[in-house]
């Protein structure tokens, strides 16, 4: 038996763990004790992260659709076909008719290569990935305010904060290790403020718990800032030295009517005052937020408001403070960093800039398209004008994770050609013309970047299962069949190219990563030590920018026909579309089936009982799912996790998006409930 240190494949906490290998199989994992985030323990997902690797459903060979059915094929045949079809479409309709989904579950190197493949070989900037669905508003909102869209501080700093404000993040369930640091802070006497429409487990430890109505974040955030302004709790020196546009901001804020807070959000002004004083009254206060803030039509506004709040009180640019958007997937930060986005190349370098393009063109030896590409939502949700004809989807599962699934699936169905690479035959792969079997995290080398911008290694512990191949290899083999040569000896060589072209990764080399526990970007040259917290002494964009935000309600509100709010999300034992977690016995045993959380009072009115099925209907479709009674959701609000293919919550959600970030409003839509006879 031997052990291989790697990074957990589930969430972006980025725990390091040892895979235990015996006779070519992974038989267990051991957490690293020295790793600064894992600290000797893993969440249940991490402890069982090896459980899907040898599952019998693993894709072992390529599949090609023949007479409506996916049948076994060999690699030559499959890759030749993919290359041929993609080239045909490109010739007939141009590169802009092709689209690529990269993957927040794949490595930095793979994301870099796929976006290179899209731009250099397919000649399209239509490349995106699931950050669109989770933190695109953070990337834009925090970039506007601070000049960088990532977590400002490192995870372990939380333990020394005096006040922690958690909003729109069910931290104990989605980022267990971050919650662990919050518990450490509490043990040292820190105060906790939780603001969440659902009474999440952490709220039981909150010194102030606020329960706003769904989609009213701008209101309570503005209210809180108004209180801070009125009571003079702001950090004037900080504002003067480090920010801009404050005067214009306060002119409007001063007129904000606190009465609105209770009317719109349901939070009483007294409670909000307690929270405001608590947050503003200390030196070291941090904000943690996640998709409860971003998955709204006002997602970018919500993020800007959070940035406003942090700047108003000077709680940023210092150790143990900051604004922390908690990224979900193990490498969603990295996939963004690598430029798997329609408008930026790796390191957030603008594709529209000629100078930047030139730099890449010199190394990539080809011309690049200069117009911004389509977002993931636009690629699949603008069926009418037939923009996208062919797609390459690497390790993503929009047929379960995108909003308004009927429309999404129709769009996938409509594609002239779809190729999917994945480790299992996902709901999306079922629509594919060619399915390529990919290697899992245990079977390849590479790096991933955690939510705290920590770049870490994943290491190959076993050879690829069956005939599967690492995505890196798949992309390169495909490129060479499309007359564009991409050849690398190793993932380390890919990283060398990334470092050369990407200033924030300029000092990232494998030999450095192997010593210690990775590097925090920005790490601009081989001697740069990395940056655990951003904006030290000055914001990345120079000065932090205040921008007043006017409240906009959610796109679809409950009415007489659809009287309930539906909010969707995740639960502790499962991971996104469940393709891995539901195949792990210990995880699937925790929550084998879908459920809808309903307040007992609503249940009584409707005459539905615990554990009994109920029909949930929205304007888009309906699902049947079992009831779980709980006071954790307020009246008139239901919660459904989106992991379960038998009862896909996203049949119900709509595809109205934030205008800037193009993120759909997964957190609010209107539904009605019907008893199943």
């Amino acid at each position: 038996m031997h052990r291989v240190l790697t990074t957990c494949c589930f969430c972006a906490c980025g725990c390091n763990l040892y895979l235990e290998v015996e006779a070519g199989k992974i038989i267990g994992v051991i957490p690293s004790r020295e790793h600064p985030v894992a600290r000797g323990n893993l969440c249940l997902k991490g402890w069982n992260s090896f459980g899907f690797v040898h599952h019998k459903d693993r894709l072992q060979y390529p599949l090609i659709r023949r007479k409506k059915h996916l049948v076994e094929a060999n690699w030559e045949e499959a890759l030749d076909l993919v290359a041929k079809r993609l080239l045909e479409i490109k010739e007939r309709h141009g590169g802009r008719s092709l689209g690529v989904f990269s993957s927040a579950k794949c490595t930095n190197e793979e994301n870099y290569l796929l976006m290179k493949f899209a731009r250099a070989a397919l000649k399209t900037n239509n490349v995106d990935h699931c950050a669109r669905l989770c933190h695109s508003p953070s990337v834009i909102g925090l970039n506007n305010a601070f000049g960088s869209g990532a977590m400002t501080n490192s995870i372990s700093e939380l333990a020394n904060a005096e006040v922690i404000l958690v909003t729109g993040s069910n931290t104990t369930e989605q980022h267990p290790q971050i919650a662990r640091f919050i518990f450490d802070a509490l043990a040292k006497g820190a105060k906790l403020i939780v603001v969440d429409p659902r009474r999440i487990p952490l709220s039981r430890f909150a010194h102030v718990y606020l329960q706003p109505r769904l989609g009213t974040d701008v209101i309570w955030l503005n209210g809180m800032m108004k209180i801070i302004l009125d009571e003079g709790l702001l950090d004037e020196t900080f504002i003067k030295m480090r920010t801009e546009n404050f005067r214009a901001f306060t002119e409007i804020l001063r007129k904000f009517d606190l009465k609105q807070v209770e009317a719109v959000s349901g939070i009483s002004v007294e409670d909000l005052e307690r929270a405001a004083r608590m947050y503003a009254g200390v030196k070291r206060a941090a904000i943690i937020y996640s998709m409860g803030i971003t998955q709204h039509v006002s997602g970018t506004d919500n993020v800007q408001s959070i940035a406003n709040l942090a700047m108003l009180t000077g709680h940023v640019e210092r150790e143990f403070t900051g604004v922390g958007p908690l990224r979900g997937q193990n490498n969603v930060q990295g996939a963004c960093d690598m430029g798997a986005l329609p408008g930026t190349l790796s390191g957030y370098q603008d594709i529209a800039s000629e100078e930047i393009r030139k730099k890449f063109e010199r190394v990539w030896k080809t011309d690049l398209p200069s117009d911004r590409g389509l977002t993931g939502i636009d690629m699949l949700h603008s069926v009418g004008d037939k923009k996208i004809q062919g797609m390459f989807i690497m390790g993503e599962n929009p047929a379960l994770s995108h909003p308004d699934l009927k429309a999404t699936r129709a769009a996938l169905e409509d594609l002239e050609f779809l190729v999917v690479s994945d480790i299992f035959l996902t709901e999306t792969a079922e629509f594919a013309d060619v399915v390529l079997p990919a290697a899992s995290f245990a079977e390849k080398d590479g790096t991933v970047t955690s939510t705290e911008r920590r770049i870490q290694r994943i290491r190959r512990a076993i050879p690829p299962v069956g005939e599967s191949k690492p995505d890196q290899q798949i992309i390169c083999e495909l490129a060479s069949r499309m007359n564009y040569s991409m050849h690398y000896e190793s993932s380390a060589e890919v990283m060398e190219e990334i470092a050369m072209l990407t200033p924030i990764y300029g000092g990232v080399y494998y030999d450095r990563l192997d010593k210690g526990w990775g590097l925090f970007w920005p790490c601009t040259n081989p001697d740069h030590p990395g940056t655990p917290f951003l904006h030290k002494g000055s914001f990345a964009r120079g000065k932090g920018r205040f921008e007043y935000v006017v409240y906009r309600p959610p796109a679809e509100m409950p009415d007489d026909t659809y009287p309930f709010y539906l909010t969707t999300g995740r639960i502790y034992p499962h991971w996104h579309t469940g393709s891995m977690s539901r195949r792990i016995a210990a995880l699937s045993r925790e929550r084998p089936e879908a459920f809808v959380e309903i307040n007992p009072k609503d249940a009584k009115r409707l005459g539905v009982a615990n554990n009994k099925p109920v029909r949930v209907i929205s304007r888009r479709g309906e699902i049947t799912v079992k009831v779980r009674l709980t006071d954790d959701v307020p009246e008139n609000t239901i919660f459904i996790p989106f992991h379960f293919r038998e009862a896909p919550a996203n049949i119900l959600t709509h595809d109205k998006c934030d205008p800037g970030a193009d993120i759909p409003e997964f957190k609010v839509c209107a539904v009605r409930l019907e008893r199943v006879q």
Binding site: M1, H2, R3, L5, N16, Y18, E20, I27, G28, V29, I30, P31, S32, R33, E34, H35, R39, G40, N41, L42, C43, L44, W47, K56, T172, E173, P176, Q177, A179, R180, F183, D184, A187, P201, R204, F205, W517, Y572, A585, A586, R589, E590, R591, N611
Partner: protein, 410 residues
């Protein structure tokens, strides 16, 4: 061959090299990342042994692996064929801590008490255990309170005491004697001075504990049902169900057995570690969970470690290794728990609460409902179950079901 010997430190590598040539040698190794793990050491000269810190996971994984194939199966037509995968390997575990070794002795009892677990026993009977007494207890070690260390009086094959430039070696069981006799040229006789020095080291180690806890009081409070419900509530809220406390505990032995198909016609029956803090651990077929609330599961965990083990094996099964103390997501740990229980005022509950407790445990009634029924019962004089049924809180079927489950009737 006398029972006590001296091994000069310069001969340790030589001794271990000899062992590694003949058997699989397992020892605590500090790797390049700074983590100490029990590793299979094929070449002693290539690794850096770490005899100063506690390996991340206990040695139990070598006796009860995280995943273990019990047998392979194949079906052809109607016929099933089985192929047992019995382990058969001779090992020496070197550098165990006393607590971890004591935990193995506890496993020895558990894995042959009801039926003899051949997988465990095969591995165990082929393994020689060498522990190293803890001359410097670490922070969060409390084996002294648990009476499983820092040095052992029996149970080891060999016990080492670190005396600076040499080890004082005590021979316990035949396996140890065999090793020493085979390579006797590494060893020297002990002098009275060595004995005195070793005695001093043991004494000093005994007084070096930062953590002292009172197991007896905690156990008796438990057995007398004197643990405040509010504590369970608090711990239930803190536990996040990671399973870590069980996975790292040297005396947690719960496992799950499942069939894992490899293809349409082949499969494996596998045994994996399980954890009692998980909801799925206690959920029965059909979805009913007698301990559906987290606080019930946490209670069960501590009950099992302390009171149950005491009643069954005459001592708690916690060996005080301190592993669960450092890793909990909600900062729950054995030391803190025992201290809290010992500190709280004794609150004896009446024996008549038993059925109420069972129903409460099963999540069929709430505390408030139980309280109300108990008050009414005082007037009506009816049994508590009848009272609850009369009040419409539960049905007869509920009671029967809950009782059936409690008594182990499917």
């Amino acid at each position: 061959m006398p029972d006590e010997l001296i091994l000069n430190k310069e001969h340790l590598t030589g001794f271990l090299r000899k062992i590694a040539n003949e058997r699989e040698l397992i020892a605590p190794v500090k790797n390049q990342y700074g983590d100490t793990l029990f590793e299979i050491v094929s070449c002693v000269d290539d690794v850096s042994l770490d005899l100063e810190s506690r390996p991340v996971v206990p040695p139990k994984n070598f006796f009860l692996p995280r995943t273990e194939i019990l047998f392979n199966y194949r079906h052809e037509g109607k016929e099933y064929r089985f192929e047992e995968a019995l382990p058969d390997i001779s090992r020496v575990l070197f550098g165990l801590r006393s607590c971890d070794l004591w935990a193995i002795l506890f496993f020895d009892v558990v894995f042959q008490e009801n039926f003899k677990d051949r997988y465990y026993l095969n591995r165990r009977s082929n393994t020689i255990l060498i522990n190293i007494g803890c001359h410097k207890p670490m922070q969060n070690c409390f084996c002294k309170s648990a009476q499983s260390g820092p040095f052992l009086a029996y149970g080891y094959d060999l016990q080492f005491t670190d005396m600076g430039d040499r080890f004082f070696v005590e021979i316990g069981r035949p396996g140890g004697r065999e090793l020493v006799e085979k390579w006797d040229y590494f060893f020297e006789p002990v002098t009275q001075k060595d004995r005195n020095e070793q005695y001093e080291i043991v004494l000093e180690a005994e007084s070096g504990f930062e953590r002292i806890v009172d197991f007896d009081t905690a156990v008796s409070r438990f057995i007398n049902d004197e643990v405040d419900e509010a504590l369970w509530e608090e711990l239930g809220n803190r536990c996040q169900g990671c399973g870590g406390c069980a996975y790292v505990c040297p005396t947690c032995y719960c496992f799950d057995i499942a069939d894992r198909p490899v293809s349409d016609s082949k499969g494996e029956r596998v045994r994996t570690h399980d954890a009692c803090t998980l909801a799925g651990f206690t959920r029965l077929a059909g979805g009913y969970n007698p301990r559906h609330e987290r606080r019930r599961r946490i209670r069960r965990r501590f009950y099992h470690k302390l009171a149950f083990a005491k009643e069954r094996y005459h001592r708690p099964s916690c060996v005080g290794c301190g592993r669960c103390v450092e890793i909990c997501f909600g900062r729950i740990d054995m030391i803190h728990f025992i201290r809290t229980v010992c500190e709280q005022p004794g609150k004896a509950m009446k024996a008549s609460l038993r059925l109420g407790e069972i129903l409460l445990d099963a999540g069929l009634i709430s505390k408030e409902e139980l309280k109300a029924a108990l008050e009414k019962q005082a007037d009506t004089g009816k049994p508590i179950g009848a009272q609850l049924i009369e009040d419409g809180v539960i049905t007869k079927e509920d009671v029967a079901r809950a009782l059936g489950i409690q008594l182990g009737i499917p």
